[in-house]
Symmetry: C2
Subunit: 137 residues, 2 copies
């Protein structure tokens, strides 16, 4: 078990991807008008890519076009003071190829928010890191 400089357990790449796949909600971190911004979204994995479904005109769609974003999932138990988090950093892109969009529309990814959401954002998991905090570790 490897610990980082803060004393947290370092998760392996495989653990990180497995935890990513277990979570329906993550947080996309980007820049909005030169300020740090964060927005929770539901998502699913397509291989090792993160897929988000939104509307073409959304702030998220505009802000994540051809840029590097972070994406975070976590789960904590406040009573036990344990938990884990996984962060991905990578290029985000809007899906423009109709064939790719049609394929992604077949993923088990139903938007929670109302309205038609037929715009897909794909984030490549270029850097993946994860930590676990365990009071008994």
């Amino acid at each position: 078990m490897r610990l980082d400089s803060a004393g947290l357990q370092v998760l392996s790449y495989q653990e990180c991807m497995s935890l990513l796949g277990s979570c329906p909600i993550g947080r996309i971190v980007f820049t909005d008008r030169a300020l740090p911004a964060v927005q929770p979204v539901n998502f699913c994995l397509d291989g090792e890519d993160i897929v988000i479904r939104t509307t073409a005109g959304s702030k998220l769609a505009a802000a994540t076009r051809r840029t590097v974003v972070a994406f975070e999932v976590d789960e904590f138990d406040p009573a036990a003071r344990t938990g884990w988090s996984v962060t991905v950093v990578g290029h985000a892109r809007a899906v423009e190829d109709p064939a790719e969009a049609a394929r992604l529309a077949g993923l088990p990814l139903t938007p929670w928010a109302p309205g038609t959401r037929d715009h897909f954002i794909v984030i490549a998991a270029e850097q993946v890191s994860g930590r676990r905090i365990d009071q008994h570790g």
Copy 2:
């Protein structure tokens, strides 16, 4: 009840601050070596300021010194597809005044991670926004 362009309920400032105060864990969003970064932290409110406790030499302490950060808390129910999120944007500062640090040390804020954490970061809640998603709304 006000809805935003994505059809989500817009929370009032008072609701946002009340939800912020109900959460032990939030996510601080900053820039690390020119890349978007996000890190979960436990925190508490001091009036309307967000207070985080870390080590003086931590990456978080270095990256959040005299800069604008975002801070996010949320809670979602994947089965019901409901939930809320609150995001604060504001200047972060390291507490350097020993009297202020001594006062903040008296807050109900015990770090989850191991080690001595006597460095305080304070985020001013300059912009506060929140959304709720409710399938019956």
